[in-house]
Amino acid sequence: MKVVLRNPRREVEVTGNRRVKEILRELNIIPETVLVIRGDDLVTADQVIADGDTIELRPVMSGGAEPRTSSALSGVSEPRPSISAHPRFKPASRVLS
């Protein structure tokens, strides 16, 4: 099968019918970091990809973030309380899930 990888875009060949989780393990890719796409659909880790199929492993990680330094404090990144700290805010009783 053909496996399309991104950033940079490239292709690798994996032989035989294989489960998605086996393909990811073989390519040393953490499942949490990609979408596995076949055609117009996402596929789950337990699904078998046939030898002649093409799948795309699309990375989901994005970012680059400003390092938090004290110098940034003089911008508009001023410390301020969350809304939940506001005296009029009443927290919901429901536990987060």
Partner: protein, 300 residues
């Protein structure tokens, strides 16, 4: 693998919830998480306009998509960072999205506002590119909202972004950063708009899956300056932990928000001033944005 709700074939497995969903039920799960975030933190009301900061990536466009469908009065804000082809393509994605959905999009160019695009700011300041970029974004988002009379800015930060930021802050025990980490920051000054993160309950993979299922045309390529960024290294570390122990990122972030953050928040007091030059809020005399613009002006 079967959908937890309907029993049909699943399209995505969410190990941290010990669940799997088909595409329609996953999208409903996703919308419910956004609704819960907005409700729980009173991010904005039905009668308020919302400025959605969009980058052309999966998170911000997925957020805008949900808010439009939920009936909120939204305006997009795209900040053109001037990062070569990446900015050209990401701007085109935002414009196409806005046009297709018939919603307004504001565009601000960093090169005009600061005096130079991000690649030049990087050279001038000799700091990591994400530093000048983040500073400019925060400043311009706030100012654009004030100018448009919009009381709240919503950004596409997701659970992974927030967990990675928290991880970085804890790694360096940045005591000033910890109280500021919140899904919703109140307006504490007439010139500061509210800042909210309605996707903080959803992982990066979940926002990517939602964007894919909704056929949102987002930019998959990474910002060229993000390569090697510390936050990416933190995300990789957290993802390895998540792989070994599903729910690790969720527990790390939500545990902080529920149990630890209030203690840091209580310890903090700060005086807010208005910048002597631009009038925006700062803790000093001259704000960091004006200092950055000065530095760029001297060097370019």
């Amino acid at each position: 693998m079967k959908c937890r709700k309907c029993g049909n074939a699943a399209a995505i497995e969410l190990r941290r919830h010990n669940a799997a969903f088909c595409a329609p039920d996953f999208q409903e799960f996703f919308r419910n998480q956004v609704r819960e975030a907005i409700r729980r933190h009173r991010m904005f009301g039905r009668d308020e306009r919302v400025l959605v900061a969009v980058s052309g990536g999966k998170d911000s466009l997925a957020l805008w998509d949900v808010l439009i469908d939920e009936g909120y009065d939204t305006t997009g804000l795209y900040l053109d960072l001037g990062i070569f082809d990446y900015s050209v393509e990401s701007k085109a994605k935002c414009e196409a999205f806005a046009q297709a959905r018939g919603v307004p999009l504001l565009v601000r160019r960093v090169a005009e506002e600061v005096g130079a695009p991000v690649p030049v700011i990087k050279q001038v300041t000799r700091r990591p590119p994400c530093s000048g970029c983040g500073l400019s974004k925060r400043y311009l988002m706030n100012r654009a909202a004030l100018e448009a009379g919009i009381p709240v800015v919503a950004t596409g930060h997701n659970l992974d972004d927030e967990a990675a930021t928290l991880f970085g802050s804890v790694m360096h025990w940045q005591m000033d950063a910890l109280p500021r980490q919140s899904p919703a920051l109140a307006s504490t000054h007439p010139k500061l708009v509210r800042r909210v993160k309605p996707l903080y309950r959803l992982s990066e993979r979940e926002t990517a899956a939602f964007a894919f299922m909704r056929k949102i045309d987002y930019i998959v390529e990474e910002c060229p300056f993000a390569i090697g960024a510390t936050s990416i290294a933190h995300k990789e570390t957290l993802n390895r932990m998540e792989d070994a122990s599903p729910g690790a990122k969720h527990n790390f972030l939500f545990g902080f928000l529920e149990k630890a953050r209030p203690a840091f928040e209580q310890a903090e007091t700060v005086v807010l001033n208005e910048c002597a030059r631009c009038g925006q809020v700062t803790t000093g005399t001259l704000c960091a944005f004006c200092k950055l613009a000065d530095q760029v002006k001297r060097s370019v």
